[in-house]
Symmetry: C2
């Protein structure tokens, strides 16, 4: 039984429901950010971040910084882009566009590989783009939270390495880390940026990122200074290295409470093999998607291989308005999200199924949500 007060289950694609122990860590009594107990906890958290990315490469570097997932985009733009550098952005929706907007602020010359809403750019067209120009970075939104489209990373990264080996492979993993497989070293990724409040299962407030040695060297060998102070990886790197070596260090004050909560969440996530965690997310996702199909509804992500496993974006029947359905679901104790992709915004809703709601067998909220969705559609006259 949860020790939390009764509340509507938050099944949006982040923030997600939290485990009791994680929320208890959020209320940790005050401690010095440079005291030995917190330094040890922060250091351990950084080491667990390596495990989360299935990485053992000592030249790779985790960063845990107060901020939101969006700050991760600035970490890429401010550090890896110099004015005029070319960036190839694989566009799967709202969040790919946002990432591109951020890169442009730092002077990137952005080229898109676009795809129709609900699908993703395919390897041949991406390869053609890479052959046509030298790109410093290629960015891919692993799961675009606006559409539930999953991008494929393994074959993509192999193709990029063969076609344009200098190009850095950058992943927006905000809605994928801890629910979709990421083998950072094996796939040869150069950066993954994510946030605490999605499948990792820690409340919002932390930007979590992971950079390859090659990416770090790129920052160090810039011709112009890094274009930010707070998002400058070189300001944070000695701090992260010291904390991981259990030495106090200061650049900007971390949040002991959020880091304690992340520590608890990562311990839980790593308590079983990651392969089992990913398989469980796929199993529950399959159940959700089957239920959606049984209700006669279509997903925004059309092809099975393009469908994320931590969320489902669902087209509504023509007769049902999101603005009517969502309040009915909320009254039934289930919080879904509305649409956010501007081309289809009023036509769909988003159902997040990540983290503790998926992994804890005592949590009934996924099944309850499926039942509530059915009941809501019945109430609105779509189902009889």
């Amino acid at each position: 039984m949860s020790s939390q007060p009764p509340h509507a289950a938050v099944l949006i694609p982040g923030p997600i429901e939290f485990d009791d122990a994680v929320l208890q860590s959020m209320g940790h009594y005050s401690e010095s950010h440079v005291g030995p107990a917190f330094v040890a906890a922060f250091g351990e958290t950084l080491t667990m971040t390596r495990q989360l990315f299935q990485s053992t490469d000592p030249s790779a570097q985790p960063f845990i910084v107060s901020g939101s997932g969006t700050l991760g985009w600035d970490m890429i733009g401010a550090n890896l882009i110099e004015k005029g550098d070319s960036a190839l952005v694989l566009n799967t929706g709202y969040f790919s566009n946002g990432f591109a907007d951020c890169l442009k602020v730092y002077g990137a010359d952005v080229t898109f590989v676009n795809a129709p809403v609900g699908s993703r750019p395919q390897l041949p067209e991406i390869q053609a783009a890479l052959k046509g120009k030298n790109y410093k970075i290629i960015t891919v939104t692993h799961v675009d939270t606006s559409t539930g489209v999953l991008s494929e990373l393994k074959n993509l990264s192999r193709m990029v390495q063969e076609t344009s080996p200098e190009t850095l492979i950058i992943v927006d993993g905000v809605c994928s880390v801890a629910c979709e497989e990421i083998a950072f070293d094996e796939w040869g990724l150069d950066a993954v940026v994510t946030a605490s409040q999605k499948a990792i299962g820690c409340p919002a407030g932390l930007s979590i990122s992971y950079f390859s040695g090659k990416a770090i060297e790129t920052v160090k060998s810039r011709k112009t200074p890094v274009a930010s102070y707070f998002a400058n990886l070189l300001n944070w790197m000695p701090i992260m290295q010291n904390y991981e070596n259990k030495k106090p260090s200061y650049f900007a004050t971390p949040s002991p409470q959020l880091v304690r909560a992340l520590n608890t969440a990562l311990k839980q996530a790593l308590s079983t093999p990651l392969s089992e965690r990913f398989a469980k997310h796929k199993e529950v996702s399959d159940k959700v998607k089957e239920a959606v199909s049984d209700l006669g509804l279509k997903q925004v992500a059309g092809n099975v291989e393009d469908q994320a496993h931590g969320m489902t974006a669902i087209y509504l029947p023509d007769s049902v308005k999101a603005t009517e359905l969502l309040p009915i679901l909320s009254k039934a104790g289930v919080v879904f999200a509305g649409g956010i992709h501007k081309e289809i915004q009023p036509k769909y809703i988003r159902f997040g199924h990540m983290g503790v709601s998926v992994m804890d067998p005592n949590r009934p909220e996924i099944d309850n949500a499926i039942a509530a969705l059915k009941a809501g559609l019945t109430q609105l006259g779509y189902l009889v």
Copy 2:
């Protein structure tokens, strides 16, 4: 009685000890960042931020963003500085220098008005500097956490307005907001940047800032784009305005738990007149400083009028090493901070007395800390 587990009292100049209710809010169950309950709480928190700055000017704008206090510097640099703009930095120590470093990243041409360690630049020399050049901004570190030096804002801002009315007056209030008086409108300030974990009494993780209408207009009328994505005030402004008007809005995911905790902390801070809060901090500060003096010790901030009321930086006797004293205090359940100003780093310690430790009459930790300091100095042979 506190419901927190027994722990050493954190009496560093931030993070500080937290009230039980604030820590309980940190463990708030999950909620959607765009759901009505959270939107109402965030909106109310923004309105309370106006009250904290004693501001009723509707053109002024509060910002509450996931990040640390340092992010506030970037908000100033990225938004108010264009390449080559002149900034006059009043230098009172480590944090004034850090602020200047940040401004330089965004292209500022920085001029310092320096002062010997433990004092602050004086009005005549500041005025002379303002007369010699057109400065777009002047920055003042209200309390420099590295030295405990308090800067005077009221006469300073009047002088700046008379001498150089176009110059924007920017205050680093990280270690002053909620323990030193700030009358934002009355004094004609243009921006104050602060953080959650000091006198405001909420755990670290939020950058809190307040900008005048004049400052916002300056951002809007830039010749070049704002030099950051995450720290771009124009990205955040409609979001903050919508939340304050109780309308959901999205740019980057806020932290519901941290905002709930800030809401609780601000309600507590505003439950008595701010004048009483400032007077209580002065009363306790006077007690601490008298005890320090009675022990035969000197403060880093030499003159009474330059001494902060939320912290005390204390020179150690020649015979006592900080590296010996601090662990003894820690064993006695009192966490002080070491020195951080590079010219005097090993010679002094810092004692924070802000927030609940000062305001809650049931909290014995300030008196305990004074006693522990005396006992520690005795143990190390300084006092007999």
